[in-house]
Symmetry: C2
Subunit: 191 residues, 2 copies
Amino acid sequence: MIEKPSPNEKVAVGLIHHPMLNKTGNIVTTSVTTLDVHDMARLSLTYGILSIYIVTPLKTQQRLIARMTRHWTEGHGGEHNPHRKRALAHVKVVDTIDDMIDNFSLGKQGVTLVSTGAKSDGNCVSYAKARQLLDSAGRSIVMFGTGHGMAPEAMEKADIRLAPIEGAGDFNHLPVRCAAAIIIDRLFGRE
Amino acid sequence: MIEKPSPNEKVAVGLIHHPMLNKTGNIVTTSVTTLDVHDMARLSLTYGILSIYIVTPLKTQQRLIARMTRHWTEGHGGEHNPHRKRALAHVKVVDTIDDMIDNFSLGKQGVTLVSTGAKSDGNCVSYAKARQLLDSAGRSIVMFGTGHGMAPEAMEKADIRLAPIEGAGDFNHLPVRCAAAIIIDRLFGRE
Protein backbone atom coordinates (compact mmCIF):
# COMPACT_ATOMS: atom_id res chain seq x y z
CA MET A 1 0.00 0.00 0.00
CA ILE A 2 1.40 3.37 -1.01
CA GLU A 3 0.97 5.98 1.68
CA LYS A 4 -0.14 9.51 1.01
CA PRO A 5 2.56 12.13 1.66
CA SER A 6 2.59 12.84 5.38
CA PRO A 7 2.42 16.38 6.73
CA ASN A 8 4.18 15.19 9.88
CA GLU A 9 7.26 13.49 8.48
CA LYS A 10 9.41 15.88 10.45
CA VAL A 11 7.91 14.56 13.69
CA ALA A 12 8.75 11.36 15.59
CA VAL A 13 7.36 9.89 18.79
CA GLY A 14 9.40 8.02 21.36
CA LEU A 15 8.08 5.61 23.97
CA ILE A 16 10.77 5.62 26.66
CA HIS A 17 11.55 2.72 29.03
CA HIS A 18 14.87 4.00 30.37
CA PRO A 19 15.80 5.99 32.41
CA MET A 20 12.46 5.95 34.21
CA LEU A 21 11.37 6.37 37.81
CA ASN A 22 9.64 3.62 39.74
CA LYS A 23 7.12 4.04 42.56
CA THR A 24 9.82 4.79 45.11
CA GLY A 25 11.73 7.24 42.91
CA ASN A 26 14.57 4.92 41.88
CA ILE A 27 15.85 4.91 38.31
CA VAL A 28 14.79 1.75 36.50
CA THR A 29 14.18 0.25 33.09
CA THR A 30 10.46 -0.44 32.73
CA SER A 31 9.02 -3.45 30.93
CA VAL A 32 7.71 -3.04 27.43
CA THR A 33 3.93 -3.42 27.11
CA THR A 34 3.49 -4.83 23.61
CA LEU A 35 -0.01 -3.38 23.36
CA ASP A 36 1.47 0.09 23.83
CA VAL A 37 3.76 -0.51 20.85
CA HIS A 38 0.66 -1.27 18.75
CA ASP A 39 -1.18 1.76 20.09
CA MET A 40 1.70 4.20 19.59
CA ALA A 41 2.08 2.98 16.01
CA ARG A 42 -1.64 3.18 15.19
CA LEU A 43 -1.96 6.57 16.88
CA SER A 44 1.13 8.04 15.19
CA LEU A 45 0.16 6.85 11.73
CA THR A 46 -3.31 8.37 12.15
CA TYR A 47 -1.62 11.76 12.48
CA GLY A 48 0.85 11.15 9.64
CA ILE A 49 3.77 10.52 12.00
CA LEU A 50 5.89 7.82 10.38
CA SER A 51 8.74 7.45 12.90
CA ILE A 52 7.93 5.56 16.09
CA TYR A 53 10.82 4.82 18.45
CA ILE A 54 10.70 2.34 21.29
CA VAL A 55 13.60 3.05 23.64
CA THR A 56 14.89 0.22 25.81
CA PRO A 57 18.45 -0.97 26.43
CA LEU A 58 17.36 -4.50 27.37
CA LYS A 59 18.17 -6.96 24.60
CA THR A 60 15.52 -9.43 25.76
CA GLN A 61 12.88 -6.71 25.52
CA GLN A 62 14.19 -5.63 22.13
CA ARG A 63 13.85 -9.22 20.93
CA LEU A 64 10.30 -9.34 22.27
CA ILE A 65 9.35 -6.24 20.26
CA ALA A 66 11.09 -7.60 17.14
CA ARG A 67 9.25 -10.90 17.44
CA MET A 68 5.91 -9.19 17.95
CA THR A 69 6.32 -6.73 15.08
CA ARG A 70 7.57 -9.52 12.77
CA HIS A 71 4.36 -11.45 13.42
CA TRP A 72 2.43 -8.53 11.99
CA THR A 73 4.79 -7.24 9.32
CA GLU A 74 5.98 -10.58 7.90
CA GLY A 75 3.88 -13.27 9.55
CA HIS A 76 0.26 -14.33 9.63
CA GLY A 77 -0.80 -11.21 11.52
CA GLY A 78 -0.32 -9.01 8.48
CA GLU A 79 -2.54 -11.23 6.32
CA HIS A 80 -5.23 -11.13 8.96
CA ASN A 81 -4.94 -7.39 9.54
CA PRO A 82 -3.13 -5.32 6.87
CA HIS A 83 -3.73 -2.08 8.80
CA ARG A 84 -1.75 -3.41 11.74
CA LYS A 85 1.01 -4.48 9.36
CA ARG A 86 1.17 -1.00 7.92
CA ALA A 87 1.33 0.69 11.34
CA LEU A 88 3.91 -1.62 12.90
CA ALA A 89 6.20 -1.32 9.87
CA HIS A 90 7.16 2.12 11.21
CA VAL A 91 8.40 0.94 14.62
CA LYS A 92 12.12 1.25 15.36
CA VAL A 93 13.82 -0.03 18.50
CA VAL A 94 16.84 1.79 19.94
CA ASP A 95 18.96 1.47 23.09
CA THR A 96 18.88 5.04 24.35
CA ILE A 97 17.30 8.46 23.95
CA ASP A 98 20.57 9.66 22.39
CA ASP A 99 20.43 6.85 19.82
CA MET A 100 16.88 7.90 18.98
CA ILE A 101 18.00 11.49 18.44
CA ASP A 102 20.97 10.39 16.31
CA ASN A 103 18.79 8.15 14.18
CA PHE A 104 16.06 10.73 13.58
CA SER A 105 18.46 13.65 12.99
CA LEU A 106 20.04 11.73 10.09
CA GLY A 107 23.37 12.96 11.42
CA LYS A 108 22.71 16.34 9.90
CA GLN A 109 20.43 18.64 11.72
CA GLY A 110 19.33 19.47 15.24
CA VAL A 111 16.24 17.82 16.68
CA THR A 112 13.81 19.60 19.02
CA LEU A 113 13.15 17.19 21.88
CA VAL A 114 9.78 17.48 23.64
CA SER A 115 9.12 15.84 27.00
CA THR A 116 5.71 15.05 28.45
CA GLY A 117 4.67 14.07 31.94
CA ALA A 118 1.94 14.13 34.54
CA LYS A 119 3.75 16.61 36.78
CA SER A 120 4.26 20.29 36.24
CA ASP A 121 7.17 22.56 36.94
CA GLY A 122 7.74 26.26 36.32
CA ASN A 123 9.23 25.60 32.88
CA CYS A 124 6.28 23.87 31.27
CA VAL A 125 5.13 25.15 27.91
CA SER A 126 1.44 25.47 26.93
CA TYR A 127 0.04 23.50 23.99
CA ALA A 128 -0.58 26.69 22.02
CA LYS A 129 3.05 27.73 22.49
CA ALA A 130 4.32 24.22 21.69
CA ARG A 131 2.34 24.17 18.43
CA GLN A 132 4.00 27.44 17.42
CA LEU A 133 7.47 26.21 18.38
CA LEU A 134 7.11 22.88 16.58
CA ASP A 135 5.64 24.53 13.52
CA SER A 136 8.71 26.67 13.05
CA ALA A 137 11.19 23.99 14.22
CA GLY A 138 12.91 21.46 11.99
CA ARG A 139 12.70 17.83 13.07
CA SER A 140 11.20 17.13 16.47
CA ILE A 141 10.59 14.13 18.72
CA VAL A 142 7.80 13.93 21.32
CA MET A 143 8.77 11.61 24.19
CA PHE A 144 6.28 9.65 26.31
CA GLY A 145 7.35 8.07 29.56
CA THR A 146 6.31 4.80 31.16
CA GLY A 147 6.45 3.67 34.81
CA HIS A 148 6.27 6.63 37.18
CA GLY A 149 7.63 9.15 34.72
CA MET A 150 10.95 10.01 33.15
CA ALA A 151 14.02 10.37 35.33
CA PRO A 152 15.40 13.92 35.73
CA GLU A 153 18.37 13.09 33.49
CA ALA A 154 15.91 12.31 30.66
CA MET A 155 13.72 15.35 31.31
CA GLU A 156 16.79 17.58 31.22
CA LYS A 157 17.57 16.57 27.66
CA ALA A 158 14.31 18.10 26.45
CA ASP A 159 14.16 21.47 24.70
CA ILE A 160 10.45 21.81 25.40
CA ARG A 161 8.64 20.45 28.44
CA LEU A 162 4.94 20.18 27.72
CA ALA A 163 2.38 21.10 30.36
CA PRO A 164 0.61 18.09 31.89
CA ILE A 165 -2.92 17.24 30.82
CA GLU A 166 -5.27 18.90 33.26
CA GLY A 167 -8.56 17.14 33.59
CA ALA A 168 -11.27 18.02 36.06
CA GLY A 169 -10.70 17.22 39.70
CA ASP A 170 -7.68 15.59 41.26
CA PHE A 171 -7.35 12.23 39.48
CA ASN A 172 -4.19 12.29 37.43
CA HIS A 173 -3.39 8.74 36.33
CA LEU A 174 -3.90 8.34 32.62
CA PRO A 175 -2.48 5.31 30.82
CA VAL A 176 0.40 6.37 28.54
CA ARG A 177 -1.58 5.26 25.46
CA CYS A 178 -4.42 7.65 26.39
CA ALA A 179 -2.10 10.50 27.39
CA ALA A 180 -0.19 10.11 24.12
CA ALA A 181 -3.44 10.17 22.13
CA ILE A 182 -4.57 13.40 23.80
CA ILE A 183 -1.19 15.10 23.43
CA ILE A 184 -0.65 14.10 19.78
CA ASP A 185 -4.17 15.30 18.98
CA ARG A 186 -3.58 18.60 20.77
CA LEU A 187 -0.27 19.15 18.96
CA PHE A 188 -1.07 17.83 15.49
CA GLY A 189 -4.83 17.27 15.24
CA ARG A 190 -7.53 19.44 13.82
CA GLU A 191 -11.18 19.22 14.75
CA MET B 1 -10.62 8.99 49.58
CA ILE B 2 -13.14 11.81 49.20
CA GLU B 3 -13.43 13.07 45.65
CA LYS B 4 -13.66 16.71 44.74
CA PRO B 5 -17.04 17.72 43.28
CA SER B 6 -17.01 16.79 39.60
CA PRO B 7 -17.97 19.29 36.90
CA ASN B 8 -18.96 16.39 34.66
CA GLU B 9 -21.35 14.46 36.86
CA LYS B 10 -24.05 14.93 34.27
CA VAL B 11 -21.94 13.00 31.75
CA ALA B 12 -21.47 9.23 31.40
CA VAL B 13 -19.42 7.16 28.98
CA GLY B 14 -20.49 3.81 27.57
CA LEU B 15 -18.22 1.16 26.09
CA ILE B 16 -20.53 -0.84 23.84
CA HIS B 17 -20.09 -4.54 22.94
CA HIS B 18 -23.54 -5.17 21.44
CA PRO B 19 -24.93 -4.63 18.85
CA MET B 20 -21.64 -4.25 16.97
CA LEU B 21 -20.51 -4.99 13.45
CA ASN B 22 -17.78 -7.51 12.69
CA LYS B 23 -15.36 -7.44 9.77
CA THR B 24 -17.94 -8.78 7.35
CA GLY B 25 -20.75 -6.47 8.50
CA ASN B 26 -22.69 -8.99 10.60
CA ILE B 27 -24.15 -7.97 13.94
CA VAL B 28 -22.20 -9.54 16.80
CA THR B 29 -21.37 -9.19 20.48
CA THR B 30 -17.69 -8.34 20.80
CA SER B 31 -15.43 -9.65 23.55
CA VAL B 32 -14.62 -7.42 26.47
CA THR B 33 -10.99 -6.30 26.62
CA THR B 34 -10.34 -5.90 30.34
CA LEU B 35 -7.60 -3.37 29.70
CA ASP B 36 -10.14 -1.14 27.97
CA VAL B 37 -12.30 -1.23 31.11
CA HIS B 38 -9.30 0.07 33.07
CA ASP B 39 -8.52 2.71 30.46
CA MET B 40 -12.10 3.97 30.13
CA ALA B 41 -12.31 4.29 33.93
CA ARG B 42 -8.95 6.09 34.30
CA LEU B 43 -9.71 8.36 31.35
CA SER B 44 -13.22 9.22 32.53
CA LEU B 45 -12.17 9.96 36.08
CA THR B 46 -9.42 12.27 34.80
CA TYR B 47 -12.15 14.42 33.27
CA GLY B 48 -14.45 14.22 36.27
CA ILE B 49 -16.81 11.72 34.62
CA LEU B 50 -17.98 9.37 37.34
CA SER B 51 -20.33 7.04 35.44
CA ILE B 52 -18.67 4.42 33.27
CA TYR B 53 -20.94 1.83 31.65
CA ILE B 54 -19.75 -1.38 30.08
CA VAL B 55 -22.53 -2.75 27.87
CA THR B 56 -22.60 -6.48 27.14
CA PRO B 57 -25.47 -8.95 27.32
CA LEU B 58 -23.16 -11.95 27.85
CA LYS B 59 -23.28 -13.17 31.45
CA THR B 60 -19.85 -14.82 31.20
CA GLN B 61 -18.34 -11.50 30.10
CA GLN B 62 -20.20 -9.66 32.85
CA ARG B 63 -18.74 -12.09 35.38
CA LEU B 64 -15.26 -11.51 33.93
CA ILE B 65 -15.60 -7.74 34.42
CA ALA B 66 -17.01 -8.20 37.94
CA ARG B 67 -14.11 -10.48 38.89
CA MET B 68 -11.53 -8.09 37.46
CA THR B 69 -12.99 -4.99 39.09
CA ARG B 70 -13.37 -6.81 42.44
CA HIS B 71 -9.65 -7.62 42.39
CA TRP B 72 -8.96 -3.88 42.32
CA THR B 73 -11.83 -2.52 44.40
CA GLU B 74 -11.90 -5.17 47.17
CA GLY B 75 -8.88 -7.39 46.62
CA HIS B 76 -5.10 -7.08 46.67
CA GLY B 77 -5.06 -4.84 43.60
CA GLY B 78 -6.49 -1.91 45.50
CA GLU B 79 -3.83 -2.15 48.21
CA HIS B 80 -1.14 -2.22 45.56
CA ASN B 81 -2.66 0.62 43.52
CA PRO B 82 -5.28 2.81 45.25
CA HIS B 83 -5.68 4.97 42.12
CA ARG B 84 -6.84 1.97 40.14
CA LYS B 85 -9.23 1.10 42.97
CA ARG B 86 -10.71 4.56 42.84
CA ALA B 87 -11.18 4.54 39.06
CA LEU B 88 -12.67 1.04 38.78
CA ALA B 89 -15.15 1.75 41.59
CA HIS B 90 -17.13 3.78 39.03
CA VAL B 91 -17.61 0.96 36.52
CA LYS B 92 -21.16 -0.36 36.02
CA VAL B 93 -22.06 -3.31 33.82
CA VAL B 94 -25.40 -3.41 32.00
CA ASP B 95 -27.04 -5.70 29.42
CA THR B 96 -28.10 -3.18 26.80
CA ILE B 97 -27.83 0.41 25.64
CA ASP B 98 -31.43 0.94 26.82
CA ASP B 99 -30.52 -0.33 30.29
CA MET B 100 -27.61 2.12 30.35
CA ILE B 101 -29.93 4.99 29.45
CA ASP B 102 -32.51 3.91 32.07
CA ASN B 103 -29.85 3.64 34.76
CA PHE B 104 -28.25 7.01 34.04
CA SER B 105 -31.54 8.88 33.55
CA LEU B 106 -32.57 7.90 37.08
CA GLY B 107 -36.04 7.25 35.63
CA LYS B 108 -36.69 10.97 35.63
CA GLN B 109 -35.20 12.95 32.84
CA GLY B 110 -34.19 12.57 29.21
CA VAL B 111 -30.62 11.66 28.32
CA THR B 112 -28.80 13.03 25.29
CA LEU B 113 -27.11 10.06 23.62
CA VAL B 114 -23.93 10.73 21.64
CA SER B 115 -22.50 8.20 19.20
CA THR B 116 -18.91 8.13 17.96
CA GLY B 117 -17.34 6.23 15.12
CA ALA B 118 -14.59 6.15 12.51
CA LYS B 119 -16.98 6.71 9.61
CA SER B 120 -18.77 9.87 8.63
CA ASP B 121 -22.21 10.48 7.27
CA GLY B 122 -24.10 13.64 6.36
CA ASN B 123 -25.52 13.99 9.88
CA CYS B 124 -22.26 14.20 11.83
CA VAL B 125 -21.89 17.07 14.27
CA SER B 126 -18.64 19.02 14.75
CA TYR B 127 -16.86 19.04 18.11
CA ALA B 128 -17.55 22.75 18.55
CA LYS B 129 -21.27 22.19 17.98
CA ALA B 130 -21.30 19.12 20.23
CA ARG B 131 -19.67 21.10 23.07
CA GLN B 132 -22.45 23.69 22.77
CA LEU B 133 -25.20 21.07 22.67
CA LEU B 134 -23.83 19.12 25.64
CA ASP B 135 -23.26 22.26 27.62
CA SER B 136 -26.91 23.21 27.41
CA ALA B 137 -28.21 19.62 27.65
CA GLY B 138 -29.13 17.80 30.84
CA ARG B 139 -27.59 14.37 31.33
CA SER B 140 -25.68 12.90 28.41
CA ILE B 141 -23.91 9.65 27.56
CA VAL B 142 -21.04 9.38 25.07
CA MET B 143 -20.90 5.91 23.49
CA PHE B 144 -17.76 4.24 22.17
CA GLY B 145 -17.96 1.19 19.95
CA THR B 146 -15.72 -1.86 19.74
CA GLY B 147 -15.21 -4.34 16.90
CA HIS B 148 -15.87 -2.75 13.53
CA GLY B 149 -18.21 -0.09 14.81
CA MET B 150 -21.72 0.13 16.17
CA ALA B 151 -24.56 -1.51 14.27
CA PRO B 152 -27.04 0.86 12.55
CA GLU B 153 -29.71 0.04 15.16
CA ALA B 154 -27.35 1.39 17.87
CA MET B 155 -26.30 4.45 15.87
CA GLU B 156 -29.96 5.31 15.25
CA LYS B 157 -30.61 5.64 18.96
CA ALA B 158 -28.17 8.56 19.19
CA ASP B 159 -29.34 12.16 19.38
CA ILE B 160 -25.91 13.44 18.32
CA ARG B 161 -23.53 11.67 15.97
CA LEU B 162 -20.02 13.02 16.45
CA ALA B 163 -17.73 13.59 13.48
CA PRO B 164 -14.93 11.03 13.19
CA ILE B 165 -11.41 11.97 14.25
CA GLU B 166 -9.59 13.19 11.18
CA GLY B 167 -5.89 12.69 11.35
CA ALA B 168 -3.48 13.34 8.52
CA GLY B 169 -3.47 10.99 5.58
CA ASP B 170 -5.60 7.92 5.05
CA PHE B 171 -4.88 5.71 8.08
CA ASN B 172 -8.03 5.52 10.17
CA HIS B 173 -7.61 2.69 12.68
CA LEU B 174 -7.29 4.07 16.20
CA PRO B 175 -7.71 1.74 19.18
CA VAL B 176 -10.94 2.57 21.02
CA ARG B 177 -8.94 3.59 24.14
CA CYS B 178 -7.04 6.22 22.09
CA ALA B 179 -10.12 7.41 20.19
CA ALA B 180 -12.02 7.76 23.47
CA ALA B 181 -9.15 9.76 24.99
CA ILE B 182 -9.09 12.18 22.07
CA ILE B 183 -12.87 12.61 21.97
CA ILE B 184 -13.29 13.05 25.74
CA ASP B 185 -10.47 15.62 25.70
CA ARG B 186 -12.03 17.49 22.77
CA LEU B 187 -15.45 17.53 24.44
CA PHE B 188 -14.53 18.13 28.08
CA GLY B 189 -10.84 19.05 28.25
CA ARG B 190 -9.17 22.39 28.45
CA GLU B 191 -5.61 23.10 27.43
